[in-house]
C-alpha cells in the first residue's frame, strides 16, 4: 500500500527540504518527494528557462502533447531553488490542505 502523506508525521521534512531543495535527502523526505512528484492526472509541472542561468518561470505540461504548455509568465524566478520551493509549497497544500508561509531563505 502506497504511503499516504500525513502532515503530523511529515511536517518536519518541510524544513529539511527548505534547507536543501536539491541534493541528498533523508529517506523520509525522499519518500515524501517521490509521492509529491507524481501527478495521476498525467500533467507535469516544468521549469521553463527564459534566460540561461538568470530567469525561469513555471509551466504546466498537459497530459496530451497536442495541447500547449501553460506558462506562468508573471512569476519569474531568478534562482532555481526558489522555484523548487514554490512547487513544493503548492504540492504540500494540495496534498494536506495546509499552507507553508515561509520563504526559502530567511
Amino acid at each position: 500500500m502506497v504511503y499516504k502523506i500525513d502532515p503530523e508525521i511529515d511536517r518536519h521534512y518541510i524544513e529539511e527540504f527548505r534547507q536543501k531543495p536539491i541534493g541528498a535527502h533523508s529517506p523520509g523526505l525522499q519518500r515524501l518527494l517521490n509521492l509529491m512528484r507524481h501527478d495521476p492526472s498525467g500533467r507535469q509541472v516544468v521549469l521553463i528557462c527564459r534566460r540561461p542561468f538568470e530567469e525561469w518561470v513555471l509551466g504546466m505540461m498537459p497530459a496530451d502533447r497536442r495541447e500547449p504548455i501553460a506558462v506562468e509568465e508573471n512569476l519569474v524566478f531568478t534562482d532555481i531553488e526558489e522555484a523548487e520551493w514554490e512547487v513544493f509549497r503548492r504540492r504540500w497544500r494540495l496534498l494536506t490542505g495546509e499552507s507553508i508561509n515561509r520563504p526559502l531563505r530567511d
Binding site: P21, I22, G23, A24, H25, P27, Q30, L33, N34, R37, H38, D39, G42, Q44, V45, V46, L47, I48, C49, R50, R51, P52, F53, E55, W56, G59, M61, R65, P68, I69, I80, A83, E84, V87
Partner: protein, 753 residues
Amino acid sequence: MLKIVGYPDRYSVAPGEDIAFKISLEEGEQFEARLVRVVNGDCNPAGPGLKFPHVPTKIDGTHAGKPQRIDAGSYMIADGVPAISAHPFTFLAFVWPTLPTRGEQVIAAKWDAATNAGISVGIGDEGRLSLTVGDGAGGTETVRVDHPMLERQWYQLAVTFDPASGAVTLDQRPLAAYAVIRDHGQFRGRVRLSVPAVKSPFYLAGRPEADGTVGHHFDGKIDGPMLLTGLRSHADHDALLAGVAPRDLRTAVIAHWDFSREIESVRAIDVGPFGRHGRLMQMPARGMKGHNWTGEEHAWPRKPEHYGAVHFHHDDIYDAQWETSVTLTIPEDLKSGAYALHARAGDSDETATRETYIPFFVRPPRDKAKRGKRPSVVVLAPTMSYLSYCNHAEHITARGAERQMGRLLTFGHADLYMYDHPELGGSQYDTHADGSGVCYSSRLRPNLNFSPRYHSWLGGPGSALYQYNADTHLFDWLDHKGVDYDLITDEDLHEEGYDLLADYRVVITGTHPEYHSTAMWDGMKAWIDRGGRLMYMGGNGWYWRIGFHKTEPGVIEVRRAEDGIRTWAAEPGEYYQSFNGEFGGLWRRIGRAPNVMAGVGFIAQGFDISTYYRRAPDADNPRAAFIFKDVPDEIIGDFGLVGGGAAGIELDCITPNLGGPPNMLRLASSDGHSGMMMLVNEEFGVVPPNLGGDQNERVHADLAFGETPSGGAIFATSSIAWCGSLLHNDYDNNVSRITWNVLERFLDETPFA
C-alpha cells in the same frame, strides 16, 4: 522557442570536402552564417563561458532561408501497379494495429490526391476496417465493418471490390478469439460511386495528400499484403502464403509483397511474377514478428518466414529532406576538431532564440598520403551516442523523470520547440506514439540536443550538460592545455576500423561513449591490444550494440534486449537487429562487457548531484606514481560544473569476472552518493532493498589504471561528470592535474609494463 533550426548532411567531414547545411527559418527570409570552432558551449557563469572562435571562410555573410517542414510517417510505395479499380480485385493482408482509435488510417491505397479519386483501404471510427472510394469529381464514400479491431491483435483482412456493380465485401477476421469480445468485423454491400482508373503508385500505411505530403498513416504491423484480380477469400490468402495455391489463383496475383525478404534493406519485395517491388519510406521497423511467429525461433535470419511484418508508425522519420541552405567547402588547412555553423536570424529574447550552432567535426584527410605528420593524440567524438540521444524527449513523452532527476525538469527554448514538433522524431530512449520503442535514429534531421549551449534536463545541477555539450568541457581543457590532437567520430571508426586508429598513440573518449557497432568495438579493441593508450573520460561506455544500415546513410539501430537500463524493452523475439542480423542489446549480454574494453563497467546512475572520489590504496602503488604527481589530496573532484562534483550522472567500477584485465589498479573510488544514485539492473538478479548509494557499497565509481601486455595502457575516469571538473579554478585542480599527468605519460612512447 527556436526561430531557426537546422542540420548538416554529415557529422564528420574531411578537408577539401563539402558539408551542406539545411536550415529552416520560422521568421524572415535570410540569415547570417559563419564558421566557428567549438571550444566551450557552456554559458554557466561559474565556468569559463562560451568560446566559439570565428574561422573566416567564404560562407561568411547573408544567405536566403525559408521555412522547411518534416513529413514524418513511414509507408511503402510501389510503382507499376496497374489501375486496380478497372476490374474486380481483392486486397489481402494481416494487420496488427497499435493505435486503432487514432482516427482514419490508411492500410493500402491507390489514390490520386489531386482529384480525390481511387481506392483506399483503412481503419477508422474506433478501428473498424473500411473501404473508401473517390470518384474524382468531389465525391467520396466509405463503408466499414460492424466491429472495431482491438489494439495489438492480429487480424486477417479480405477486401473485395467489383467496380461494375459497386459490390464490396470487407472481412476483418481475428486470429485470436476472446469470450464476450466481438471483433470479427464484416460488411457486405455496395458503394454508389464509380471509381476512375488511377495511375498513381500503390501505397501501404499512408496515402498521398493534396499538399504533396503522405498522410493518414497507419500505426501497426502489416504482414503478407497482396493484390489479386477477382474476388478472393482468406482461404486464398492462406493458400498463396503456404505455396499451395492452384494455378488459377497463382495467376491472379497482381502483387504480393513479402516483407520477410531482404529485411536488411528498405526494399519491399514483390514475389509475384511482375516484380512490382516497393520501397519503404521513412524507415518503418523491420525484422518484426509476423502473424505466424511461434517462438520456436528468435533470430529472424534463421527463420525469416516468421518475420514477415513491417511495423509502421505515423511518427517514423528517416530523412527530413530539407533543401540545402548553405554549403561549406572545408579548407585544406583547417585543423581537425569540433566546429559549428553559426546561423543567426535576429536578436534573441526571453521567448525566442534566433540563432543556432549546428555542430560537426573535421577529421583528418581520408587519404593517408595527404595526412602528413599527425598528432599522437586522437579524440574520438561519440557521435553515435549523440545520435542515439537525438531529440531525447523523455521529459516530454514520459512521466516520472522529475522523480528520477530529483528536481524540476528544465525546458529551454529548444525543449519547447521539441514539444511542439514531434515530427522531428524521438531518440532511441523514446517511444513512438503507439508505445513501441524507437529503435532507429537518423542524423538526417535536426538534432536539437546535439548542440553547443544546450542545457539538458538530465545533465546534473549546475551547468546541466549531457553528451555533446558536456564534451565541450573536454574540448576547452584540451585547448587550454595546448594539446595537439586530431578528432575522429564514431562513424569514421565504424567505416575504417583499426586502420584509422593505428597511427595514434593515445585515444581520448568523450564523456559518454555508450553506443558501438561491432566494427567500432573490434577496431578499438584491436588498437588497445596492439599497444594503444586509452583515456576513457566518461562513464557508461561500450554499453549498447548498434547496427548501421547497409545502404541508407546516417541511421543506426538499437534493440533494447533483455537487460540494462532501458526506457523501453524490445518485444520478445525482436532482439535481432534488422540492419545486419546481429543479436542486439547490451554488449555485456553478448559476452563483451565494457570491462573487457575499458577495465571498468557500468555500475550506477543518478542525476541529482555529483560527488567526489576518495583516494584508494592503489594510488600509492609505484605503477601509479605518475598519475598522482603533485596530487597528494585525499579527496579528488569535490567541485565541478556537472552536479557539483567529478563523480556523477553515470558511474563505472572495476568488477571481477566480467572479462576485465585483473591488473587494473583502483586509484580512487567515489563516495558520498545520495540514495538517488542507484545500482543498475544488470548488476542484480533479485531486487535488493538497498539500491541507493547511501546504502549500497557497490554504488561507486572507480578511478582506474592498468597496463596492457603490448606496452599500452588504460586509464578510466569512470564518471560522466569527470570532465565537468576539469575547468574548475582556472583549470588548476586535482582532476585537471590527474588528467594531465596521465596524458603526459601516455604521450611518452616508453612502453608500459
